[in-house]
Symmetry: C2
Subunit: 157 residues, 2 copies
């Protein structure tokens, strides 16, 4: 038991702990599914996210996508050995189709952005911004909702 | 007890029932506060909406503002004697300052939009779109978050 834990597994476990301890995120039922080195995958069940029409409430989709992109920033910071408070600064969302099933979201870095530049900027200045994208897919293929968001990382303390 | 109920009070009561029966909206604790003929006012408590930093989760602010604008469309349709399924089509949100207190949101029609044109279009075609705005205010003055969203109303059935 003296071997170092897998850093990626530890980062996902830490994110899953955030998902369980943040009350509004736990209420939605968000769980961390996987990280493939580029994309973070999260899930949430249908039942706690139903609207008046039997489909998923847009606000729940927004919360999941907001948290997915936030979570990817947290994971990348942790894998770089850095700690920060991360805030969503602004976002846009498009709701393409009603979703009548469990929620499956992915988040990744926006085109033109660069993790190394973000991490270097944060290390040098104690704050940095980065743009992410998220999507929620339909079980039959295609997209239920799309999201772009900008996030600010600020050194703790 | 044969007098008609106040239509505005009945419309707000119906919206409050939606807020209590939609699970993800009830989880946030959204309640309907007031409607002054132009602006709809909604509240939500801090505790169920806390993030990892002791402030309000951005996703909760987005859900409240999404629901506030949706609710205003529902109220205006009901006051016109119309029934529809109303969906958020797209939205943008800016998170200006962290909020460390209960949430107070307002929603109103976006500049350049017109309720009469929206209601006439819906009555004629069974579907119509309208743009709304929402804001969450800070207790010390100023704005925690701002929201613009477009909504689609579609005749039931």
């Amino acid at each position: 038991m003296n071997s170092d834990p897998d850093p990626q597994a530890a980062a996902l476990k830490a994110l899953d702990n955030y998902a369980r301890s943040m009350v509004p995120v736990a209420a939605i039922g968000i769980t961390v599914a996987a990280y493939d080195g580029e994309r973070l995958h999260l899930h949430a069940p249908l039942a706690p996210n139903l609207n008046d029409k039997g489909s998923v409430f847009g606000g729940s989709m927004n919360s999941l996508m907001t948290f997915a992109s936030w979570g990817l920033v947290m994971v990348r910071l942790r894998l770089a050995g850095l700690e920060a408070d991360v805030y969503v600064a602004d976002s846009t969302a498009a709701y393409r189709k009603p979703l009548y099933a469990d929620l499956h979201a992915e988040a990744w870095i926006a085109p033109g952005e660069d993790w190394d530049a973000f991490l270097a900027s944060f290390s040098a200045r104690g704050r940095a911004r980065i743009a992410l994208q998220s999507v929620i897919r339909l079980p039959e293929g295609g997209v239920a909702a799309e999201f772009s968001g900008r996030y600010a990382a600020i050194a703790k303390g």
